[in-house]
């Protein structure tokens, strides 16, 4: 297993390299640069200033030189300096990543704590009233795009009832920036994500549990005279969790990059908003860093899913 993980990790390197090359080339293909939009009537010779800035950022050098320069600096831990926000990239990424991960983890916790129990309840009495009711609600909820769900949540819980803030990742006044403040701000976007995620998990749980119910070992367990709830807990539930754990691994992959739209909608200062702004400002160093982290997130999630799969299901062996 250790060897397998090691090989997989090595396999990630060429993929990440390709992704950074692709982002780099596409980014430079976009028209304009970070210094086009400077607006300051106090500056007399704008063209000269822009020229100086472009030179200091290395944007006048050939593309391959810029890429090699970025890569060598990046692997040494120097992630560069933002063109427009006058900050080290790493200082921008740190808090943004924290916010995004908080949002994603909260959403995932809500999803799991709602989706799996609902799915189990559905599977206990399939084709009953509860099952059909939940199935129909799930289908409708799944069809509503989650950002539209979020708009309704903002309208009811932030604007009408004023329970939660409609914008931002931190508040103002005393207590701003505390952990609870962050949780409070992340609640609505997390709920919007979780409502959709819940439908996926409840359907998934229900389906796998119904599949497992007809397996031979379940019949054997009943034949041994075990009680219904014991069979359910120890035999059905455990085996039904196998595909769900795998799905959880893929969710991890989406944690860094899966909240871009909600962050845009809520002006939530996370990786998504940072990326959107970096694309708009042509802030190359920030964009390279965020896109690399998105890609690492996806690849890491896939790896975790494969490993989890082998951990929960001893029949699977990688070698």
């Amino acid at each position: 297993m250790g060897m397998y993980i090691f090989r997989r990790l090595l396999g990630l390197i060429p993929m990440l390299f390709l992704i950074t090359v692709a982002v780099f080339l596409m980014m430079h293909a976009a028209p304009g640069n970070a210094f086009d939009a400077i607006l300051n009537p106090g500056i007399k010779d704008m063209a000269a200033l822009q020229q100086r800035l472009i030179e200091s950022a290395g944007l006048n050098k050939p593309l391959w030189w810029q890429y090699v320069h970025w890569l060598t600096q990046f692997v040494q831990g120097n992630w560069g300096y933002s063109f427009t926000q006058h900050q080290l990239v790493i200082r921008l990424i740190g808090p943004a990543l924290e916010n995004t991960l908080l949002l994603a983890v909260m959403a995932e916790m809500m999803t799991l704590s709602m989706g799996i129990p609902v799915g189990i309840l559905q599977a206990r009495n399939p084709y009953g009233k509860f099952d059909y009711g939940v199935s129909i609600i799930s289908f409708v909820l799944f069809s509503v795009p989650y950002f539209i769900l979020a708009i309704f949540l903002i309208y009811f819980f932030a604007i009408d009832l004023k329970f939660f803030p409609a914008q931002g990742a931190v508040g103002t006044g005393p207590g701003a920036g505390s952990f609870l403040d962050h949780v409070y701000h992340a609640f609505l976007p997390a709920l919007a994500m979780a409502l959709v995620g819940t439908t996926v998990y409840s359907r998934y749980t229900r389906g796998t549990m119904l599949d497992v119910r007809h397996e031979d070992y379940v019949r054997t367990a009943f034949a041994k005279g075990l009680s219904g709830s014991l069979v359910f807990r120890k035999h059905v539930l455990r085996n039904a969790m196998i595909p769900i754990v795998t799905q959880f691994g893929y969710d991890i992959g989406g944690m860094v990059g899966g909240t871009v739209i909600l962050e845009g909608l809520f002006s939530y200062q996370g990786m998504g908003l940072l990326t959107i702004n970096a694309v708009n400002d042509r802030d190359y160093p920030v964009l390279m860093a965020t896109s690399l982290l998105f890609a690492v997130g996806v690849l890491f999630g896939n790896l975790v899913a494969d490993i989890l799969y082998a951990v929960v299901d001893p029949r699977i062996r990688y070698n």
């Binding site: 992704i19 069809s143 690849l299």
Partner: protein
């Protein structure tokens, strides 16, 4: 008793098989599905009012009227006007034209790329297959939204045509992988081997024997694709990378009404586009679900499976 009934059943089955083509049987099963049928009617209505927008409203959706901005609903402007005095109703209706155009054309583009690439990969196998699959893997690992955002900024997406291109260029890997899998399975099927033995060429086998067999899956995939593309259009507008105003789409009519003030005081601004997007996607998904049941009655238990995850999540 079973043996007694058996010949009758066989006779009944054979008669059905002779009478009706699989397509005909599927469409009959679809017509029996009430939810899908109602969704079909609602979707047709949405298409009708969007396409027939010039007949339903005489306001040009792109014309400003700065003397009548942020007007509440009235007899003249049924859904009021926006901050530039453009009529919301006409923007919603004309917006539907763009959304449906984007949905239909991108579905066709994505399916077309999927059939060509996935078909070639699945049919020929070997190094072509692994090349196509590596490219798909790369696209899957590439953060999808990032790709679409950067592409939009490269092309400076302002028009509908460019957005269609961008979504079409990024949406194909999932469909390609699916179709490749289908072709890979069919390649070993007896009827394909029989066709090969009879001397049929590759193109004939693909178009006359394989494609008709995956037609059901293709149609179902197409509906779910269309739903996710319409959702993608609106999502991109919300973060500012969709079609730029004044050209109306549901997405940018919605995103233009998302400031605190408008959300709180002017529900007529954001509610109609939000509901139109939701209703359209819901109808398409119900139709897709109905089609899946119709084409594949064995594995179907209505609502058992929800549509495939939209690629924005």
């Amino acid at each position: 008793m079973t043996t007694h009934k058996f010949p009758v059943e066989v006779a009944a089955l054979t008669r059905v098989r002779i009478d009706k083509s699989p397509m005909r049987l599927a469409s009959e099963r679809f017509m029996d599905n009430k939810v899908a049928l109602v969704s079909m009617i609602v979707l047709l209505l949405i298409i009708l009012v969007s396409v027939g927008a010039p007949l339903l409203t005489h306001f040009n959706p792109n014309v400003q009227n700065l003397s009548n901005t942020d007007a509440p609903p009235s007899a003249l402007h049924l859904l009021g006007t926006n901050s530039e005095g453009m009529d919301y109703l006409s923007r919603d209706l004309y917006g539907g034209q763009r959304d449906l155009l984007i949905g239909f054309s991108d579905t066709i583009i994505v399916l077309w790329i999927g059939i060509v690439l996935g078909g070639i990969a699945g049919y020929s196998g070997g190094w072509v297959d692994s090349l196509v699959m590596r490219v798909c893997d790369f696209m899957f690992n590439f953060p999808f939204l990032l790709l679409i955002i950067i592409l939009s900024s490269i092309f400076n997406t302002t028009g509908v045509g460019l957005l269609i291109t961008v979504i079409g260029l990024t949406g194909w890997p999932g469909v390609t992988r699916l179709i490749r899998g289908l072709f890979l399975n069919l390649r070993q099927a007896e009827f394909v081997l029989a066709a090969k033995m009879a001397g049929a060429g590759d193109l004939r086998i693909i178009f006359k024997h394989m494609i008709p067999n995956i037609m059901g899956t293709l149609v179902v995939t197409a509906t779910f694709q269309m739903a996710s593309i319409i959702s993608a259009e609106a999502a991109l507008s919300v973060i500012g990378f969709g079609v730029q105003p004044p050209t109306p789409t549901w997405g940018n009519v919605l995103s233009g009404a998302l400031d605190y003030f408008t959300l709180r005081t002017e529900p007529w601004a954001w509610l109609p586009p939000a509901l139109l997007i939701t209703l359209t996607i819901l109808c398409i998904n119900f139709i897709g679900d109905g089609l899946r049941d119709a084409f594949d009655p064995i594995s179907s238990a209505s609502l058992k499976c929800l549509p495939g995850n939209s690629h924005l999540q």
